[in-house]
Symmetry: D2
Subunit: 371 residues, 4 copies
């Protein structure tokens, strides 16, 4: 389905980095939900480049909802959001034409589209498209929040610097999520924030870039959502997360760490204390692809930004010659802190869709204003 994703709720994403605008269509939303447009703007701001640690391409990124919203509430028909492109420097890319940027999709796009792709700024492959995911997913996050679901991420690892993990105490974790959602640079341990930023600046001075790992937690998601086999929450979440450029690894709970555990260590014992819970949560709130009511824990690795200022070996596909390439223009030395809200929003979309697939659209629809 290429640019459309979801079962009952779908998102369709379109646009290129240097075209007039990019956009997203959400189809299947419940009707009557009062969309908080300020909250969308706040999420957009978290994705925005800011300060020295980000690219100097600055855009307002004010999402314009052109359909599906009437008198401030969702209508239930497709909600389309447009975001204009403003601060393109298309000329920066003219000189690159034909010269393949390592780590980017220039070569694969050329093979996939026979050379007809819009190569300016990565075109449809640009990280800029994630602005659409934020604008759309932010609405999903609001709908989930209205039902008590909290979603948040922090920079668990940025370059070589490690943050402390989310607390396993649910109430403390809830407070941490709230904290992270207030911050532009989402780190739990305040001492690590400066260290991470310094590592980013250092990479920038070297004309290089760094990546890292995001830890995402979802609280209060009900038990019994998801399916075995292909609609497992893990399958759906990872499918959505890999749509974010630069993601190269996704895991749940102990993730690859399961390899060194024994069954007796990896299993989460059940206890009944009013409700059925598990004592530990190695399996990240998901068994057999279905939520068990415990926190959902996701790790997502964002590779270092491929755009660097160092000279790199490359090929010009127009001349078939080996060349030396130095990418000019404006890039991020690190996109991890900006990717955090994209991950939150994509998770919100997937989890809302899965929930609606079971509970139905009606369960999410507002009571009619007239019988």
């Amino acid at each position: 389905m290429k640019n459309t994703f979801g079962n009952n709720l779908t998102m369709t994403i379109f646009g290129e980095s240097h075209g007039p605008c990019i956009g997203i269509t959400l189809d299947g939303l419940p009707s009557g939900f009062p969309v908080d447009q300020k909250a969308i703007l706040e999420d957009m701001k978290k994705r925005k480049a800011a300060g020295k640690i980000s690219t100097q391409r600055h855009e307002d990124d004010i999402p314009q909802i052109v359909s599906g919203l009437f008198q401030g509430k969702t209508t239930g028909t497709p909600l389309t959001i447009l975001i204009s492109n403003q601060d393109q420097h298309s000329k920066d890319y003219e000189s690159l034409k034909g010269r393949l940027r390592p780590g980017h999709a220039d070569y694969t796009a050329y093979k996939r589209y026979n050379g007809y792709q819009d190569y300016r700024g990565g075109g449809h492959f640009s990280g800029r498209l994630t602005a659409c995911m934020v604008a759309g997913g932010s609405i999903c996050k609001q709908i989930l929040a209205a039902r008590g679901v909290k979603i948040g991420s922090h920079l668990e690892q940025c370059g070589t610097i490690l943050d402390k993990p989310f607390s396993s105490d649910k109430e403390q974790c809830a407070r941490e999520i709230d904290q992270m959602n207030q911050k532009a640079f989402a780190v739990l341990d305040p001492h690590k924030e400066d260290a991470m930023k310094q590592e980013i600046l250092l990479a920038q001075q070297e004309g290089d870039s760094i990546g890292g790992i995001l830890e995402t937690v979802v609280l209060n998601y009900p038990a019994g959502i998801g399916d075995p086999i292909f609609d497992s929450l893990e399958g759906l979440l990872s499918h959505g997360l890999y749509a974010i450029p630069a993601v190269k690894a996704v895991s749940f709970g102990e993730g690859f760490g399961f390899a060194r555990l024994k069954g007796s260590q990896a299993n989460d014992a059940f206890i009944c204390d009013r409700t059925i819970q598990t004592r530990t949560n190695h399996n990240a709130g998901i068994n057999g692809g279905i939520s068990n009511g415990m926190p959902i824990l996701i790790h997502t690795c964002i590779k270092p930004t491929p755009s660097i200022y160092k000279t790199q070996d490359s090929v010009d596909y127009l001349t078939k010659e080996n060349v030396q390439l130095k990418i000019e223009g404006r890039h991020d030395p690190c996109i991890l802190h900006r990717a955090r809200i994209v991950v939150d929003c994509m998770c919100a979309f997937v989890l809302l869709d899965a929930w609606m697939s079971k509970a139905g659209l009606e369960a999410f629809m507002e009571d009619p204003y007239a019988c």
Copy 2:
């Protein structure tokens, strides 16, 4: 889509561990392909329990193709394969009814299906369903092999024992794949095979289990297949792989290791030596979701089998009481070596579907026997 997966080529999986049979329907196959049923049986054998290191539930697992095959060749209409269930001990599970096995989907299935699920042997959640993935994916593997694509996996890590990685030399790697595909227990370093088996037996003696990590490599897959955003090869492959019970982490190339690399280390420089290639392959043959012609490298973590003989804390959901649970019956102390062929077959399915989505069904159809 729950039990149906794929774009142009789809697989639909059905059945329960203790029902009369399980099965798979492949829809969208090219017509005229001569299916090698012996090769399917060999793949089924790799998934089969064998020796002391596996469960004592033994079944012939002879796939019966009931449609879509005529005079030994695919017709192009749905190809359905049935596999009968033979060696069920359904009584083993009667005593468990209501008692939640930690690490299993008992609780989530109960919440998802209101208690109406077939709880015997995990029902539709059973690892037994992976026999369908092998039977179907094995045909996809044959179609890819006829076009020169090689797929193979080895046990990169089993418990605490590490194997050496696949060679980065393409010809050596091709030989290693062939070797692995001859072996029941796929390990590259012969010294590690015994160590791994001993660790499995030791876990078994302790009434415990272990897991591990599979490294999968795909050679000769053409460049230009896949799509940005939602039909990225990473998104599609991970979605398919998470359909395999016990998978909790999937990554590509350096995977989570990208977090400690700089952009200059993570980027794969291009070189042109007749064809355009990359000097390194950190990105696992995939840029922007699309293949670049280099080997595709996947890591999949299989958690330790949740069925163990140790007494575990649990809850009886019928009585809501906290209970002590000891699982009787026959289980695998490790399923990693059996999961290997499941991963190969699922990857083959996804990669064939993606290729057909671009090149079209016709490109894969055999010439007509009559004009």
Copy 3:
């Protein structure tokens, strides 16, 4: 999606006329529904060939549910039904190989599959596949019936003989549906039944065949189901109905008759008498693709069976020669009376899927046997 259809509830159909069996997988059923297998058999019987007015190929057509049913109730995981093929005369078709039967799919299958299709008895194109639609749709009909929805069809036109239409009085119509569902040959006006049967027998004596039109009515389907644009009830129903071989026209309410009406005649005025209803029902209970609570009225045209005993002009695609063709074997002089239950079952499937898409799976799930 070729052989899979539906949004939240899907059906996947497989098999060939002369293979070991045909089958259907229903995915997305609510769990806990007590399936009445006798009722399925009764529906299967309505589709079965019987008496002189049908083919002499007789098969028991006992559907075997091999998954998704546990202790008589749906589990919520895929429910697969197999139906064995018993009374094939494959030799009848050997002589036909290469010779294109007019009105059949022999030529198009040859072009579509390059000649690799199973040509015996129409293979996957056979009307026999409709047995799967009945077996699966019959369960959907039961689930709808448990919520008060009634579905029935009658032979509005068979050859040149016209039946009277369903009553526009809802209670009378309900009685008529019950009557039709008791009958093997569903005609409202008893005088017309014999006339129709005679016309069928006459066609048979001439080595010819006839077709006709089915009128289908659905009562008590709730208002507010369906969607504008692509998930309109008309779009979904017609898509499903055209999957039945021999259907060449589908219309709703006045259908093509709308062409001669004025807006003032075609509009259905609203009246409020406790509930909002329409005074007339020209639009067949559907406005803007969405149900309005009035009866849904569908007309489906079944073309005359293409298998006839008369000599026909044809081509042998193996030799490229013009030939004279006389089809031997056993055929139906009319399939209209057998198609009636197929149409009912397909409509039930589509309408259940659309309802579940709005109300959600949970609304259809039985209360748990244990909390």
Copy 4:
């Protein structure tokens, strides 16, 4: 999938009649196709209201392609077209709020969306949305035309006036298609054009409206496209056509006329004269859901416009009272002549998608501009 349709090629439609804009996203287009924007404008013009026989709402309807087009050619990534709404008279609808217009979707939208729909001008149910289908389908028509496929429709019946049918001679039919595509009011028999227009004007003077039937023909579509069961060309075409508001009947070839034919009359005998063809074409170029290379013939009934100036009985759903309703504002006395191009464009979309599903994207991609 609600507002997204198609298999390999998809269209997603969004927007409301009185919002800032409406739009369509085409995903899965081949790359490198030179889009003729003038030709799109010409098709848009055919849909536009013009003269006395149409509504006085006039809009420029200039489609703005905001993505997926680079240097005049398709990139292969999503192509989104926006069309602004300009001449809304939203106040005309304020007075109608709560009062259900007979024949419209006001009541069903209210039930479907709990009253939160944008009720102005029909909102997302408006015929205005068909402008998106034209803009998108026009590109599909161009791609088909580049491969020799011709599509055209005429007003076979407008009110009580009948046009002559398309010629069964292929060359003559091709000329007729070209003629129709030059005309604003597509009628084959020039004597009937005035009669039809007079009937429209007469209906208008009475404050009433009329409908009619379109005959659509597709020439040179290759044999072997489509699938049995659910991807039959009939199923896909009718699904797409029912997305057009006001369509209530769709048929193929003889359509409901098959009911009065015998098998010997309905079957199309094969003849081989260099290529395999059929002597007659009762089955409209489709057997078993698959094209046979003969002209595809479709009939689509457009009901009379529900907006009329006559006083109608209705209900106010806010007060639950029976009311008398007189719709003010600007409406079409007939939309048949405007719907013609919408039908052509929707057919082009479906037929291109089906063709690409078999032949593959690559078969439609332009040669690369660089190696």
